[in-house]
Amino acid sequence: MRIDATHKGWAIATIGILAVATIGYLPYSLFYPGGPTGNTWPGLIYGVLGYAMMLFAGLLGARKKRPLWRIGRAKVWMRGHLWLGALSLPMILFHAGFAARGPLTFVMTILLVVVVLSGIVGAMLQHYLPARIMAEVPLETIYEQLPVVREQLREEAGAIVGRLCARPEFAAATASTYETGRVGVLEAGDEETVDLTEQERANLWHVFTTGIVPFLREPESKESPLANAIKARLYFEALRRQCPASVHEALNDLESICDEERQLTRQRRMYLILHSWLLVHVPLAVTLLVLGAIHAVVAIRY
């Protein structure tokens, strides 16, 4: 979620609560007999508040599972998740008096710090990355559709070169390829307008099979010059110089296919970065909530 001016209210409330909690904590830590611990009344209040905030933050996942429930807009829940989740850390630290007095509490403290830090990292990623994806991947597609789009790009490239090189088995592109509407070179009958000698056809085919196809098959590999935008531009410029002008339009299309392929690779990487932190954040947060519940029961009962 982008942290912008619309978060002002939440930010002020969070800082206010933190200030009140800190002001309460100072005399408590200085003057309370035995010092600040979790089993004193003020410590318990901090603990309950901190755990309640953690619980609210954790409920966001459940809220997302029930999108139709009219229990507050998801964006409100998300803002609460961010700010209250962050606030839970100082509250729990106040609860514990900044000390871990047993293995369970030590583990929980570490977990809490990691969860909050991973959350902050996640928030930062969600703040900056969407804008970068928008700017750097204008041909962005739905993540789950990436393999399909890549398959289409391969077919389309095959169709273009197949027509240029008079290889009908490649020229027959699927209907979905035509739907991309990329080029007129895919139109039937265009092969007659292509003015290539046998040698040029062979050269082009060689370039296609040894340069373009490997890149389109493994676009994530950095070995291909086509994986780099500058090198790719030089690669196609050289190719255009070697081919007659009548096929330049087709080569431009091939270049744009490679460019799209690079964009999709970038999209995939950014998408993974944008969401991979959740692999740390979510399981640890769930573990923390479970351990927190166990801790509460054990502490109160025994």
């Binding site: 979620m1 982008r2 969407p130 969401h275």
Partner: protein, 719 residues
């Protein structure tokens, strides 16, 4: 077009060159019986029932015979009658009488015409060819034996609906209609749109009564009862039977509101009994001298924005509305009575209702869906009548409400209304072209137009105009040629004033002349500035994507969206697991315009729905009712690909739709307080917006003076 004169049954008539004899007779109130020719289809002259004597060596089929200058036509001479009777007798000898249609709705055209000729028993022996029946379709029953090979169904399927399913098979007595390559109808590619049934003059294609059109409330009306009314006499009984409940009878008590100004409706009303009052709900605000003036902000806005004028400056003694009778300020209520129709303008233009209608006395009326009105209008005579009413009202209303004409006298407006034209254009049609001689002044009544300056390097979009806008004055006042090319962006209706009338107006009303000259000068200066700045890139993109057309546009802020797809999941959950939103589409600025219904101001998707299932209720959202037959026409018509055809589970005969697919589109989660996609977005990225307002700052380059007219501006002017 050249006019020719001919004589039909000793009556001198004048028609345009190229008109058929059949149409020439029809336009002059002379009825010629016919079977193979439906007025909305291309004539082919196969049944020969419309045979007339044109003075040629042989009798001619009037539907395909062009009228000629000086021609003498006899439609009911003894020779013609004898010939026609013979044809009907021959057809009847091969017809299983009474056929299914005659049994159900009593309007088999062949049997009706035969009865009118007094043919009870043909002189020829009965010989019904054994071509069989086809009961494989769930919706339509096919009786090949009742088919008279008129080909109306084939033309309906191929030329009107473009489904290309129907054709001919066999020869001689075995000739018949065929689905695809002579497959049973149920297994063919037929989409059950019903056009063939509506076109069929006999009982060869009849309705199985499984599609349940449901116009809620009201009492059902029998086909027989409807056929008694002149308004429905020309409508196929099969169609009315198929669309049971598409016409319902409603009763209103005195004082009940029948329809409300501003509502999006898709029904028209025909008054059977009683009287209704037509008025504007906001009429009190429009009365001069009323105490309730605009608020402080409006007053300030008026000071700083000369475009916003109080209503008193825009009206000319009348209050604009759509009604048979104009509303005057002194008595701002019109009255309609028995036999009148209202609400048809909303059906025809797809724009919101422009007036409120209240029952003055206890009333009984028929409410009908748009598809019924469509079929009624296939009869050219009725259509012409409806059109005439519509044009009269539209012209007069519009001329009275255009702010630039506020200084015209009522007498001159009446004079002008007689001379101007109401012209319709479809998307992409050019209204006037840059550099061509300026012959007309245009006032936009409905829809949006794009004004483009053509340059050698490409076109520059100057602006677009909606209702209330005008153009053509630069050409008429200064250059002599049009200054820019104007193209329709949707279904556009303009009032077109010829140069002579325009000049007469300027001569008689110097104030208006001054205003228009100032306007033309400002507009030219603006165009120069605009061309120099070429700051219209975003506006161009805005127009190209048709965003101004939208009533409610789903936008996703790509700077906020984390691609979590919660919007899609929420949509899917709200609609039985089938999402009506695909998070992919064009971009405008930092926003993604996903594939989701835009609820267009001029919804092209509604045009032609054979069962009227895609419609608006009383709000802006376009809904697809449960009785959709899955023909896919709306999906094909939607220019943005926002309607998808989804398979529906086979849930038995009780389900209204019996076809395998159904059109689905965003319904704005009408049963929930807010669209689920927006409600479920945790990142505040998804919003439903009114694009002209939401993107105003981005497109303000073109909105900085009068050249950019949005509907809001027009509303501002009117109130």
């Amino acid at each position: 077009m050249k006019t020719i004169e001919l004589t039909i049954d000793d009556r001198q008539v004048a028609v345009e060159e190229g008109t058929s004899v059949f149409d020439a007779a029809r336009m002059n109130g002379i009825s010629i019986p016919v079977l193979c020719h439906a007025q909305n289809e291309r004539p082919i002259g196969v049944c020969r029932v419309c045979t007339v004597d044109c003075g040629d060596k042989v009798l001619q089929a009037s539907c395909v015979r062009p009228a000629e200058n000086g021609m003498k036509v006899y439609t009911a001479s003894d020779k013609v009658k004898k010939h026609r009777r013979m044809i009907l007798e021959l057809l009847m000898s091969d017809h299983p009488s009474p056929c299914a249609r005659q049994r159900v709705s009593g309007d088999c055209e062949l049997e009706t015409q035969a009865a009118a000729e007094g043919i009870v028993t043909p002189r020829f022996s009965k010989h019904v060819s054994r071509r069989g029946q086809d009961d494989s379709s769930l919706v339509i029953s096919v009786d090949h034996e009742a088919c008279i090979l008129c080909d109306r169904c084939i033309r309906g399927c191929d030329e009107i609906r473009h489904n290309d399913v129907l054709g001919r098979r066999g020869k001689g007595y075995n000739a018949g209609i065929a689905f695809d390559l002579n497959r049973p109808m149920g297994t063919s590619s037929c989409v059950s749109c019903g056009e063939c049934m509506v076109s069929c003059p006999t009982g060869a294609l009849t309705n199985k009564s499984v599609i349940r059109t449901v116009l809620p409330g009201g009492d059902p009306v029998g086909v027989d009862e409807l056929k008694q009314l002149p308004f429905f006499q020309k409508v196929s009984g099969t169609f009315l039977d198929l669309n049971k409940n598409a016409v319902i009878k409603r009763r209103f008590r005195a004082g009940d509101i029948i329809c409300r100004e501003g509502d999006y409706g898709s029904t028209a009303f025909y008054i059977l009994e009683g009287k209704v009052e037509v008025y504007l709900q906001s009429m009190m605000k429009q009365k001069p001298g009323h105490a309730e003036g605009p608020g402080v902000i409006d007053r300030l806005a008026r000071v700083f924005s000369p475009r916003r004028k109080p209503a008193s400056a825009t009206n000319n003694g009348t209050i604009p509305m759509d009604s048979v009778i104009d509303l005057t300020r002194e008595k701002p209520v019109a009255e309609l009575g028995e036999g009148d129709i209202f609400g048809e303008m909303t059906c025809m233009s797809l724009y919101p209702r422009s007036a409120t209608v209240r029952a003055k006395t206890d009333c009984v009326m028929l409410e009908m869906l748009r598809n019924v009105l469509d079929v009624i209008q296939r009869n050219k005579t009725l259509r012409a009548e409806l059109e005439k009413n519509y044009r009269k009202r539209a012209l007069e209303d519009h001329l009275r409400t255009v702010p630039i004409f506020s200084g015209l006298s009522a007498e001159f407006i009446d004079h002008l209304a007689q001379r101007v034209e109401l012209v319709r254009y479809t998307n992409g049609e050019v209204l006037c072209r840059q550099g061509e001689p300026a012959t007309h002044f245009f006032l936009v009544r409905i829809g949006f137009v794009k004004m483009v300056e053509e340059h050698p390097g490409g076109d520059l979009v100057l602006a677009y105009q909606g209702k209330g806008g005008f153009f053509g004055e630069i050409g008429l006042l200064t250059r002599g040629t049009y200054a820019f090319t104007v193209t329709a962006l949707d279904n556009v209706e303009v009032v077109r004033i010829a140069a002579e009338e325009f000049r007469e107006m300027l001569d008689r009303f110097p104030d208006i002349s001054h205003k228009l000259r100032t306007q033309a000068r400002e507009r030219e200066e603006h165009n120069k500035r605009h061309s120099a700045a070429v700051a219209a890139v975003s506006l161009d993109s805005f127009l190209k994507q048709g965003l101004m057309e939208s009533n409610s546009l789903l936008v996703i802020d790509l700077e906020k969206c984390t691609r979590c797809d919660n919007c899609v999941k929420a949509c899917s959950e709200a609609h039985d697991g089938v999402t009506r939103l695909v998070r992919e589409g064009l971009r405008f600025d930092k926003f993604l315009i996903p594939t989701s219904c835009r609820h267009c101001r001029d919804p092209l998707c509604m045009i032609g729905c054979p069962v009227g299932s895609i419609r608006r209720r009383n709000s802006l959202e376009t809904v697809i009712e449960d009785w959709c037959v899955g023909c896919g026409l709306c999906a094909r018509n939607c220019p943005y690909g926002n309607i998808t055809m989804q398979p529906v589970p086979d849930s038995g005969a009780q389900k209204a739709s019996v076809t395998k697919r159904k059109a689905t589109a965003c319904d704005l989660c009408a049963d929930l307080p807010e669209p689920s996609c927006v409600y479920a977005c945790p990142h505040d990225a998804a919003h439903r917006v009114e694009p002209n307002t939401f993107f105003r700052s981005l497109i303000s380059a073109a909105a900085d003076d009068n050249i950019f007219v949005t509907p809001e501006d027009v509303e501002g002017r009117r109130h």
